[in-house]
């Protein structure tokens, strides 16, 4: 399983959008890494998320790869992942942060 930690703001997305994102991230993980995603969905409570010291509308997606990635592949996967998220949520890419980390040594 590919660990995928999604951090979103309270009341940012409907249950339908969350479900669609979970489905798309699972498909992404299977396509990119050959394994489904084990998704942790963390909601930042109201009045508890800040970006640049202002109320945040940012979403953060943290994914742990199951193999070391060449940077060219990582960049492509990061773009795919953040774009699928922005497309589903109607967020700007300025509001989406993605991280794909290599396995820990």
């Amino acid at each position: 399983m590919i660990n995928c930690n999604c951090i979103v703001q309270a009341n940012q997305f409907s249950a339908d959008t969350e479900m669609a994102l979970r489905d798309k991230l699972t498909a992404f993980a299977e396509h990119a890494f050959g394994e489904p995603a084990d998704i942790t969905w963390r909601v930042i409570p109201k009045n508890s998320g800040f970006t640049a010291a202002r109320p945040s509308v940012s979403s953060i997606i943290l994914v742990s790869a199951n193999r070391p990635l060449p940077q060219s592949e990582r960049a492509m996967l990061l773009e795919q992942m953040c774009t699928l998220w922005a497309s589903e949520t109607q967020q700007s890419l300025n509001e989406v942060v993605g991280v794909i980390s290599d396995p820990q040594a």
Partner: protein
Amino acid sequence: MPLYLCNTTRGAINDDAKRKIAADITRIHCDVTGAPAQFVHAFFVENDTAPPLGDKTAVLFATIRAGRTEDQKARIIAEMQDSVRTHAALDSDAVGMITADVPASWAFEGGEVMPEPGEEAEWLKRHHRSESGD
């Protein structure tokens, strides 16, 4: 990135204090590293599993771009712990903090891979943003 995630016991930090601590986190990070404010995310959760609280009332976990010096990280930890202690009225030993380095090349923000520390100007220019956070 950076992402500062503060986990506390329930009710330990009220909304007004969160706002002040987030402002301090942003200011301190930018002062110490020179990074633009729009990169700085400060999120608060309660009784979450991560970062683990152990015997602390508040633990701040910082995921920052690799390349910061040990002196920079020590200053970030000291000043941010002090901010949490002050605004949440906590004892000095009630606040913990951990930092973790993540290579900039592993992160994607604003539609592209993040710049290395100190190389933000071109990134900001492409995004038509000013370093004041506008």
